[in-house]
Point group: C3
């Protein structure tokens, strides 16, 4: 009999940030977040508990709940909003509302659509929250980043850390270890994504600080992870090869439009590829 096991669902919720389902991997992700900023582990633990509790009240499928499917969007939201918003009662209220929203979007998505949401529930919830807070002139945290240069190893490690919205080489090492343990066959592609996106960003963009932070890197890594877990995309090596460049272009486009991209570039890229495949299916009149 399947019961709602909250420790298991919490750990898996963190593992699902990297689209893995394994409690030990989840622990490593939590470790990576603590290494970056302990307060962010606290905020994401709170949103994950609220999300899993909400999902439980909605009487969703217990197996899915335990696998972390209902929690990882809230985890991302808990980290991302705690980075951008100052600590205040409104921020805490917003985290709670946002966490509940991710669950409702996820539950509706699983009922209505036959393709995976990836981190769409997180992106939609975060954008709605940020739009609402902008409308009432709520203050956002400001980040002043300047850098005279960047080094590839640091950019790559920061970029891997950014998968969990961290910016810290130790976090990068821990998440890299987690991904290698979980998907050792993909190690080459993960490194390719991290290296090629950083180098391509350097050609395209002049802002060394952003490259150093891994800003252009984490969407490429997430895209590779998702593409490699899709049997149809996995076979097309040229798609895997080119995906980091597309992610950098999309990240740069969001930057140019002054929109906080979060993981939207990778989600957009994967959906574009899925739409193109859907259109290429043999047509009745073709």
């Amino acid at each position: 009999m399947v019961k709602f096991q909250w420790i298991s669902s919490t750990l898996n919720s963190f593992a699902q940030i990297g689209f893995q389902q394994n409690r030990f991997i989840g622990l490593l992700f939590m470790l990576a977040i603590v290494a970056g900023a302990p307060i962010l582990l606290l905020s994401s633990l709170i949103t994950v508990q609220i999300a899993n509790l909400t999902a439980s009240l909605l009487q969703v499928d217990k197996t899915l709940l335990n696998s972390g499917i209902y929690g990882y969007n809230a985890a991302l939201l808990g980290i991302a909003l705690a980075i951008w918003l100052p600590l205040s009662p409104i921020t805490i209220m917003v985290l709670i509302i946002g966490a509940v929203m991710t669950v409702i979007i996820m539950a509706l998505w699983l009922k209505l659509f036959c393709f995976k949401p990836y981190s769409s529930p997180f992106i939609v919830s975060s954008w709605l929250v940020i739009a609402a807070l902008s409308a009432i002139d709520y203050p956002f945290n400001a980040f002043s980043v300047t850098s005279s240069g960047w080094s590839l190893p640091e950019a790559v490690l920061n970029g891997i850390a950014q998968v969990a919205f961290q910016q810290n080489e130790l976090s990068g090492v821990i998440i890299l270890i987690a991904l290698v343990i979980s998907r050792w066959q993909c190690t080459g592609w993960i490194l390719w994504a991290a290296v090629s996106s950083s180098l391509f960003a350097d050609i395209l963009v002049t802002d060394a600080a952003l490259i150093q932070q891994g800003f252009f890197c984490f969407n490429a890594i997430l895209a590779i992870l998702v593409l490699l877990s899709n049997p149809s995309f996995k076979k097309r090596w040229w798609l895997l090869f080119l995906s980091p460049f597309a992610c950098v272009l999309l990240s740069q486009a969001f930057l140019g439009m002054n929109i906080i991209a979060f993981t939207a570039p990778f989600v957009l890229l994967v959906y574009s590829l899925l739409i193109i495949d859907f259109l290429k299916e043999k047509q009745p009149s073709g």
Copy 2:
């Protein structure tokens, strides 16, 4: 044989503002509007006639037409826009276009969806009209409201009057009589909605003038009326008990974002509850 009877459909259109279908109740609602502002009865009579005429040209079901289903959104729009817009040829044109829009949205909704629209056609049409008029810098009526305090009986009566967008104790008494005649079993819950929303708004908000006007009250009353007419929600007393608090929070959220909420808080609340119930239905894999 069912014929298009314009007096009957007009009266029912006004009764449907409170989600009732009874010509005498419709007359009481019209009386409540006259007691508040005679000009608003004129504008809403015009929009209702245009709406029912449009619906008739679209050859909709005569029974629905006579029951006021195609007219109440136009009645709300006729009142709400006449409050916010100065009297001018453009305003009159906008009322006509808006009334036609409510009918087209309603007719499409009834064809495509299996759940009730409540006042969504009115909300969507009004927001589109207001967005378009804002884009051309059309002047809106300004309301300066200041108040050093509020009293519960006045806030409750104004709040009941606000169901038809009036702000006047006599209108409140007339609409209360109409609702009691039509749904005498619900009287307790209606009063609970009015009283609890006013008191909760006082704890949450510092603006006494808005509470006195019944601004936080009418969505709670509409929500109670709709929830009580749904067999599944009616059984859950704690839902009825809590709904006024949710309406106040949603009204405050719209206020904070500087959006004219109209009846959107109550519609959002009811749809959220319907979505949650839809998600809680036994899942195939559960």
Copy 3:
């Protein structure tokens, strides 16, 4: 066996601007564009090639591809954006992205919907591109138009030329010839659309320069062409008679809201009529 013939598909793509499918008519449309501004033929030839190539890579139905269905939106986009955007590497990149977007939207539309897209893929792509460029403060070309008066023959010819976004009497003559050759039974209605829209705009609007340019005219012509090709609308002469007035009102509405309308007024009018017809279909309960 049907093969992808690029000359044929290119010519048909231009003919489809006027919703015709005939290679000679396509040649006349290209001639009309050269007569107006040779650079615009170049830009639209590029976008059409990109669009048809993209469609070909998506392995769409060859017959549709050859008939120009996948190319005319890109042709319109190539002309319209080259008019509004300064020549620069970013503009060229935007033309390429826009052309690919029109094909993806068109392919999705044909898979998902059972009604024609007309020029919706072009309108949606152009608005998205313009919104994105506005967000990054990209400069748009400015047009200063002043005129002390307007003459009907020039307004009519310019208006016909505007079907391909030209503003030039010779282009107007060529497109008129093309339309007369292709649809000689419609000549009377085409002229009615051009003349009545210009005269009605003169009553409604004070800006003689816009009328002289044919700004209020081309949507009326496109609407007549589409309505005449629909067996159900063709029978209703009063609909054909009134459609130019509706197009002028819609064009003026977009102007008032400061939105570049492109062909949106005609598309909105046709969809409104289709929705009304859909709603008027015998209802199960009626």
